[in-house]
């Protein structure tokens, strides 16, 4: 590509979803190309990085794998900020995990408080499609849900059998890249609820005027 001299992009991606939907496995499959049934419970959050080529450009994916139990959600504040893309994962054999996507998404937007939340890139992954016989959420249903969320991209994947993983993460990287290049100052420096923020925004705009 002609855009070779670009500096290496660092993309921060958060993966969210109910406990047991396979977030850690998805990540392991993406990063190490392997599936293990011996991974550990994720406590707090784990971090992985992977370099990949997106449209001829080298990007580094900084992925945060989170704990699925709800009470850990409150810790998100510590590392959601600055995310370029949020991956929502559910288990196609577990309709509750699908039902909970809305809350995960809303909660992410609250805690990360990105500017322009309407257009923040999310990608939905329906994991465990290898268990077709236990399927509880139809593709149609998931796609319909995505349509209501500003056409969120949707992939049916299997971490166990490495179905669609690369494709999905390519899309994730692309979405994150678009977001990142579009607006690097995506996140305010302070949480929105801190009053100082308004003052800050003003003063900074003042400075830029000068």
């Amino acid at each position: 590509m002609s855009s070779a001299p670009h500096k290496k992009a660092l993309l921060k991606v958060i993966i969210l979803g109910d406990s047991g939907v396979g977030k850690t496995s998805l990540m392991n499959q993406f990063v190490d190309q392997r599936f293990s049934n011996q991974h550990k419970v994720t406590i707090g959050a784990d971090f992985i990085m992977k370099d990949m080529l997106v449209d001829g450009r080298l990007v580094t994916m900084q992925i945060w794998d989170t704990a699925g139990q709800e009470r850990f959600q409150s810790l998100g504040v510590a590392f959601y900020r600055g995310a370029d893309c949020c991956v929502l994962a559910y288990d196609v054999t577990n309709s509750t995990s699908f039902k909970n996507l809305d809350p995960w998404r809303d909660e992410f937007l609250i805690q990360a408080s990105p500017r322009d939340p309407e257009h923040f890139p999310f990608v939905l992954l329906g994991n465990k499609v290898d268990l077709a016989q236990d399927r509880a959420v139809s593709r149609k249903k998931a796609e319909a849900w995505c349509q209501t969320k500003t056409k969120m991209p949707y992939f049916e994947v299997s971490a166990k059998e490495a179905v669609n993983i690369d494709l999905a993460f390519q899309t994730i990287a692309r979405a994150a890249l678009a977001r990142e290049s579009q607006d690097t100052q995506d996140f305010p420096d302070f949480p929105a609820q801190v009053l100082l923020d308004c003052g800050n925004a003003k003063s900074s705009s003042f400075c830029s005027c000068q």
């Binding site: 392991n28 550990k40 409150s74 510590a78 809350p103 509880a136 609820q193």
Partner: protein, 756 residues
């Protein structure tokens, strides 16, 4: 040893099998597993990097200790060319070895020595093993040649001292065994002394040296003083000889709503350990028992991820009942109070993080500055505190830390965190963001780089230093923060007999099925099929659980967040998920479960969803067992919750609702939040003002409420079905200082969001 002799496919598979998945190791050059470590070393140049050396070790060890089948593979892959290459390799590896030796720091030297001896040990074992096999003659021949080839590159000493070294190792092993026995004897004598209530002066010193594996079963419960705890909790066997644990276990399996989460996590706890490996094996069953029982005992904590590995660790050495009490001791004892870590809102976590940051700043200011510069989020420490370094340092070292942790208390957590920063200071200062995270998450767990004794010595020194500086414990929790100790009575479920519980479960089940059929017949004719289905679901929830389903918006993520600032907490453990009564098909497959896990139906429809547990005193000291049986029964009958709704009334549940504000507000277990019951506004919420003020009766705080931005979505399609009627606003404090207030206005549910 050189890996180059190995046929590549065999090497691949040995790596696959021998490791639990290790996260990516791209940036720190830890990838000699795929390449030849010898050449890797030559290329890499800097041999000081411990990580590089660490990763030299697993390969050869694995290689040596492989079984006969692997060896056969080797033999097959052997041919003349290797013999030709061997002398060359020998020279190369010799040089490398010398170079490495000359540049190693002391702990690393020890390490390489140890590895060398391990390799020799493995080789001896393999030889013994293959001697047992009767190989065909040609294979024996090639084995011999393999042996010479294998030996050759390993080391120069090996050639001259092979026999001598083996002899030495054997002697050392024998001495070790005697030493171990001697220590065990000392411990036994000391334990006997303690049984006779004589003071054991050497206990502390010996705990620091490590509790012998065999004796953990006796020592750990004692370190946690669980005998006394059980007395305090009035753990007296009932007429069937069952103590609190057994009674809890039987009941909890019927009604604990954490079963699903626990089951998920059991499958991910110590699976690399043989005793936990098989699904639904004996130890996994024990783990379920302990965790489920505990979730119903300490209902404020319930089950939190991270507890499974603690219970798992205890179960490696103790029986179920002891593991249960040890767990409880860790949660509530003054030294440990892990309750504060695991309880929703994690009040102790933040306090520890802050204090730890302060300590690093004070004692390791360079590291502190570096980490600040890298902008490392504090989240990496969570697993340190929640699991006391399990999975974050090698298991053998974690065990040593646990010995001390049980005895000394949570100051050990801080000291060990600081110890890591101290011992790995140089390495950390060279780390970037990614390398640091890698180091903390996997690097140290794979190889700590120092022997356990050295680490423990250093840890001891740091702990002493912290104590003398009076910094070993963080400042006490701030006024008004979430309580870090239990505030409610333990095991409220014990007040009911098993038969009662079974009866109630059965009753609720039949009630819900009857109600379903009635609702279906009544509604189907009146409205569109879609709406009918929706309504049916709603009523099903209402009737089955006695809970009021909430408009869709209220089931949002914000509402599911744990409150950080509320004082009044739901007495029950958090619900596994919301609305799952409508999704029975989401239940995990239960047919292969050899023990009884209540089905979704029985869990959801359990009477414990309808009734609140008796209210224990909100504040004040921890109550050992809380109320006596009778008192608890009284508390049950005088509980605030209305009795279960009459079975026949599908419509009565709807009729009752407007007047039944309690159930509207406080029965909401579908979201893990706490709700302030007695909130009244300073104004009537009648006109659509942008800001209103609400006073919270309990904390006396004024809450300013302004119309939120992201709540413009319609109240939800369910509102036209359920007329909520006027109700006082309910206030929910969420993490992140966001407060949600729900206000009923002329039957229309409006939501307000506020930022405090």
């Amino acid at each position: 040893m050189s890996n180059s002799n190995r046929p590549p496919p065999a090497e691949e598979s040995s790596d696959e099998e021998s490791r639990t998945p290790i996260r990516r190791r791209r940036h720190i050059d830890l990838t000699p597993t795929n390449s030849n470590p010898v050449t890797g070393l030559i290329r890499g140049g800097s041999v000081r990097d411990p990580a590089r050396l660490n990763h030299l070790s697993p390969g050869p060890i694995v290689h040596e200790s492989k079984s006969a089948t692997f060896k056969e593979g080797l033999i097959e892959g052997l041919d003349g060319t290797i013999q030709e290459v061997a002398p060359l390799l020998r020279t190369v590896s010799l040089r490398v070895r010398q170079q490495v030796q000359s540049t190693l720091s002391d702990p690393l030297k020890r390490k390489t020595d140890r590895i060398g001896s391990e390799i020799r040990e493995g080789k001896r074992k393999m030889d013994a093993l293959s001697a047992k096999l009767t190989l065909p003659k040609f294979m024996k021949d090639s084995k011999r040649s393999l042996a010479t080839n294998d030996d050759a590159p390993s080391s120069s000493d090996d050639e001259s001292m092979d026999g001598e070294a083996l002899d030495q190792i054997e002697r050392e092993n024998i001495v070790d065994m005697y030493e171990k026995l001697r220590r065990e004897k000392k411990w036994l004598a000391m334990l006997k002394q303690m049984d006779e209530h004589k003071p054991a002066k050497k206990l502390q010193e010996r705990v620091w040296k490590g509790v012998p594996l065999k004796l953990k079963i006796r020592v750990w419960p004692r370190l946690l003083n669980i005998d006394r705890l059980r007395r305090d909790c009035r753990d007296i066997p009932d007429k069937d000889g069952k103590g609190i644990y057994d009674q809890l276990k039987a009941r909890a399996k019927l009604v604990s709503r954490d079963v699903k989460q626990i089951d998920l996590d059991i499958n991910r706890t110590f699976r690399n350990n043989e005793i936990f490996r098989d699904r639904y094996c004996v130890k996994q069953k024990s783990l379920l028992n302990v965790l489920v029982a505990y979730s119903m005992y300490n209902t404020e904590v319930g089950y939190c991820q991270g507890m499974s590995q603690i219970a798992g660790l205890f179960l490696m050495y103790l029986d179920e009942e002891e593991a249960f009490w040890c767990m409880h001791a860790l949660m509530v004892s003054q030294k440990h109070t892990m309750h504060g870590f695991f309880v929703p809102g994690f009040p102790k976590l933040a306090r520890f993080e802050q204090h730890y940051i302060k300590l690093v700043k004070k004692y390791k200011s360079k590291v502190s500055k570096h980490l600040d510069k890298l902008d490392i989020p504090y989240i990496y420490m969570t697993k340190w505190w929640f699991g006391c370094f399990l999975d974050r340092v090698p298991y053998a070292l974690a065990l040593r830390i646990w010995d001390v942790f049980l005895w000394e208390g949570d100051a050990v957590l801080l000291a060990m965190g600081l110890n890591i920063m101290k011992m790995h200071e140089k390495r950390i200062l060279k780390c970037g963001f990614e390398q640091f995270m890698e180091l903390v998450q996997d690097g140290l767990a794979t190889n700590f780089g120092y022997s356990n004794d050295v680490v423990m010595e250093s840890l001891h020194a740091i702990l002493d230093k912290l104590r003398s500086d009076k910094l070993d414990r963080p400042p006490p929790p701030a006024e008004g923060s979430l309580p870090e100790v239990p505030t409610k009575a333990y095991g409220p479920i014990l007040a009911k007999t098993l038969d009662q519980i079974k009866c109630e479960v059965a009753e609720v089940r039949s009630r819900s099925s009857r109600a379903n059929s009635m609702v279906a017949s009544r509604t189907a004719s009146m409205i569109s099929p879609e709406a009918a289905a929706e309504r049916q679901k709603l009523k099903k929830i209402t009737v089955a659980t006695g809970r009021t389903p909430r408009p869709a918006r209220r089931n949002n993520g914000a509402a599911r967040l744990q409150s950080e600032s509320s004082l009044q907490r739901d007495s029950r453990p958090p619900a596994p998920e919301s609305f799952n009564a409508t999704f029975s098909n989401g239940a995990p497959p239960t047919e292969e479960v050899p023990f009884k896990i209540p089905s979704r139906g029985s869990m959801k429809g359990s009477p414990y969803e309808q009734q609140q547990f008796p209210e224990a005193p909100k504040r004040g000291p921890v109550r050992p067992m809380g109320l006596s049986g009778k008192e608890q029964m009284r508390a049950y009958s005088s509980g605030k919750m209305p009795p279960a709704q009459p079975p026949s009334s599908t419509s009565s549940s709807l009729r009752m609702r407007p007047g039944n504000n309690d159930s509207l507000k406080s029965t909401d277990t579908s979201s893990r939040k706490s709700t302030y019951d007695n909130v009244h506004t300073d104004r009537q919420p009648s006109s659509p003002q942008r800001t209103i003020t609400v006073r919270d009766d309990r904390s006396g705080k004024l809450v300013y409420i302004s119309r939120g931005g992201d709540d413009d979505s319609p109240p939800g399609q369910m509102d036209d079905i359920l007329n909520y009627g006027p109700e006082p606003p309910s206030v929910t404090h969420l993490a992140n200082h966001v407060t949600y207030v729900k206000i009923g206005e002329d039957g229309e549910a409006n939501e307000w969001t506020t930022k405090m």
